[in-house]
């Protein structure tokens, strides 16, 4: 199986699994406790926290462990809007992940001000349009760094500069789930207040993520309870996952150069071969300002549902949009926000590379895709 759906999830790096193993039995403790068993777990948790913090330019206490990207996004947005500060509004973009957009919809149903800023045909949000949408009531702006469907890069630094200039009290959140591992993440350089990452997108365990929360920012928790994570996120810590995530963060950062060079070349190679061999092909991923590993392409006249099934039969794993409750593919809101019609969105497929991808896979996948597309046409 040629796995080209790394944006959905990635295999666990072996060193991550190894790092996690002791925490099943040998070091099984709950970090919140007095005795030695707890203290050992606490120690491991805090070492993991420090490692992650140092690798993204943050302080340890600015790292909140969560169950993943979705929870981190929820905490960032709900936490900012529902906090005790008077501001209650949200500004975000039309191409965010559902974890942000559904949260936005929830807040809207509560009667809170929510503005969704549109994007251009490359799925890019314009910093001045975002700044223009902000007012005195805006608690938080949320813009993802790399879009999960197309790989479009947003100019987070420019956005944060403009937003802070207009409204210094508005918090800036970025969902960096797809960016981590291919883009440089330094919270100071980015000028942001809140940042989401998710371990299973870069070789770490599923069910583990962090929310970076700049020192001094108070968020209303999403999970209330025992008060772990300085009250910000209650619930017994999954120390194994935290340790695994820290190991994955480290590995991913060592790997970033390879993403920027080799893996990016694999993605480019697939793109070239498809454009050359698969007849009419429209590339939805922008030429510039894109991640190293996403490729979203449209095959006019070919239903993505049929193409994905046949790719599966021929050993290539790819995806389109997200799956609905019954398992059918839904029409991508990202592609629609870029200006594609629903029919065009239904002709689009996403291929994403990851830490296990090889150049040979890119070539073989290209041949298989072109073969199927030609036959279907």
């Amino acid at each position: 199986m040629i796995y080209l759906d790394h944006a959905a999830t990635t295999p666990m790096r072996p060193e991550v699994w190894e790092a996690m193993a002791p925490f099943a039995n040998a070091s099984f403790g709950n970090p919140s406790g007095v005795h030695g068993v707890s203290r050992a777990a606490k120690n491991a948790l805090e070492e993991a926290r420090e490692k992650i913090a140092s690798l993204i330019g943050a302080q340890p206490l600015e790292i909140v462990f969560t169950s993943g990207g979705t929870e981190s996004d929820n905490l960032a947005i709900k936490g900012a809007v529902l906090s005790s500060t008077p501001r209650q509004g949200l500004v975000t973009t039309a191409i965010e992940h559902e974890a942000v957009l559904e949260t936005a919809d929830f807040l809207k149903r509560l009667g809170l001000p929510v503005t969704i800023v549109g994007v251009d045909s490359e799925a890019r949000a314009h910093p001045d349009e975002i700044a223009a949408a902000i007012n005195d009531d805006t608690a938080v702006v949320s813009v993802m760094m790399v879009n999960n469907e197309t790989g479009t890069l947003q100019d987070i630094e420019a956005i944060s500069d403009l937003v802070k200039e207009k409204s210094p009290e508005t918090l800036i959140h970025t969902d960096a789930v797809q960016a981590f591992g291919c883009e440089r993440i330094d919270v100071g350089a980015l000028g942001i207040d809140l940042l989401t990452i998710s371990a299973h997108k870069f070789g770490g365990p599923k069910g583990a993520g962090i929310l970076y929360v700049r020192d001094g920012i108070a968020l209303e928790p999403v999970l209330h309870g025992g008060g772990q994570e300085l009250g910000r996120r209650s619930g017994t810590h999954d120390v194994a996952s935290a340790v695994g995530m820290a190991t994955a963060v480290e590995s991913a950062l060592f790997d970033r150069h390879r993403f920027e060079t080799e893996i990016s070349s694999m993605r480019d190679r697939l793109e070239e071969r498809l454009v050359a061999d698969a007849g009419e092909v429209v590339v939805n991923t922008p030429k510039k300002g894109r991640s190293s590993h996403h490729l979203n392409v449209r095959f006019p006249g070919v239903r993505n549902e049929t193409l994905l099934m046949l790719l599966d039969q021929k050993g290539v794993a790819a995806s389109a949009g997200s799956a609905c409750q019954s398992g059918a593919a839904t029409v991508s809101h990202v592609l629609e926000a870029m200006g594609l019609t629903p029919d065009e969105a239904r002709e689009s497929v996403r291929f994403t590379f990851g830490w296990t991808s090889t150049a040979a896979e890119a070539d073989e996948a290209a041949s298989i895709v072109s073969g199927i597309v030609s036959r279907l046409r």
Partner: protein, 342 residues
């Protein structure tokens, strides 16, 4: 694979016979916010049942989105039929336009040879000609809802379950350890679910609930109703009139939103006007036929001439919008939709 025991066993039988099988569930309908149906047929839990059986059989499994085709071919027609005083059978329209048309058209794309369903019917090929035949279990026979199929469809469809009785089907499923072995059959329309169809129509086509008069055969007003969509020819209950003798809906007049009610004698009709006539062999002809005009009813002798079907004896409950299937013994010769009666 609907998640029911019939399609589950159909998949198993084909796999046992040595074929390479791929299981698919059709996504046909979602609610206003995109939510999957949670009651009636083809719900999320039904899809989960289908998925689990496919995993158990170790066959690939996919969910195919045919919501547009279904809305256009089935739901819109359902609403339009009720609005014009007809009684539709959406499951038949789904067979006609989605399953055995749009889905069948994708077989070549999928590199598949045949479409297999769990319908209780049989098909046989002799000398290059395909025949659709009633299922082995007369009480469960579903050939009526497949009566529109012609050679084009029959040659590329298989109905493995039709050779078995329902009891045998459940036994096969139980023997394979399928959780769906004892799952009750769904009798609901998949897009209506727990609301009955009236509630559905009220939501999507409130105009079919315009109030009107209930009149007798002479046109005298004897009551009122709150929407022609609540009535079907032959209906006895819910007429809102108390006369002493049983009264039945004998006609629905959509133009004036009038429901005409009469005695049992008045209910009987001598003929029906047909449309969308199809013949299993591609062509058929005028002459005597055995006509079954209800899903569960015995075929009755009649004479077909052009698009007029004249019954040998007066028939009750012949409803415009319903299907009439023509039989020669157990063999389906063809079918048609009832446009009107006389």
């Amino acid at each position: 694979m609907s998640g029911g025991v019939d399609s589950s066993v159909a998949a198993a039988l084909m796999k046992d016979a040595g074929h390479t099988v791929m299981g698919v569930t059709l996504k046909l309908w979602s609610g206003p916010n995109g939510e999957a149906p949670s009651a009636g047929c083809c719900t999320v839990s039904d899809a989960e049942d289908a998925r689990r059986v496919a995993a158990q059989l170790d066959i690939p499994y996919y969910v195919l989105d045919h919501t547009d085709d279904f809305r256009d071919g089935v739901v819109d027609k359902f609403v339009a039929d009720y609005a014009t005083g007809r009684t539709p059978n959406p499951c038949i329209e789904c067979n006609r336009t989605v399953k055995f048309d749009r889905l069948l058209a994708r077989l070549d794309d999928f590199e598949c040879d045949v479409l297999v369903t769990g319908h209780h019917a049989r098909s046989r090929e002799a000398g290059g000609v395909w025949q659709l035949i009633r299922g082995a279990d007369a009480a469960k026979d579903q050939s009526y809802v497949l009566s529109m199929l012609t050679q084009r469809e029959l040659s590329r469809t298989r109905f493995p379950v039709g050779e078995l009785t329902k009891k045998q089907v459940r036994q096969v499923a139980a023997g394979m350890g399928m959780r769906t072995a004892h799952k009750p059959e769904s009798m609901d329309i998949c897009f209506v679910g727990q609301r009955d169809y009236r509630g559905f129509l009220r939501d999507v086509a409130p105009e079919v609930f315009a109030a009107g008069a209930v009149v007798d055969g002479e046109g005298r007003e004897i009551g009122s109703h709150d929407g022609i969509a609540g009535f079907t020819v032959g209906q006895r209950r819910g007429l809102g009139v108390a006369i002493g003798e049983p009264r039945f809906v004998i006609r629905i007049e959509p133009g004036s939103a009038t429901v005409v009610v009469g005695s049992r004698d008045e209910l009987a009709v001598h003929s029906a006007r047909l449309h969308e006539v199809t013949w299993s062999r591609g062509s058929g002809g005028d002459g005597p036929v055995m006509a079954q005009y209800r899903a569960h009813g015995e075929p009755v002798p009649a004479w077909l001439e052009g698009d007029t079907l004249t019954f040998d004896h007066p028939q009750e409950a012949v409803s415009p919008g319903q299907t009439v299937a023509f039989y020669d013994g157990d063999v389906v010769l063809g079918g048609a939709l009832i446009a009107g009666t006389g």
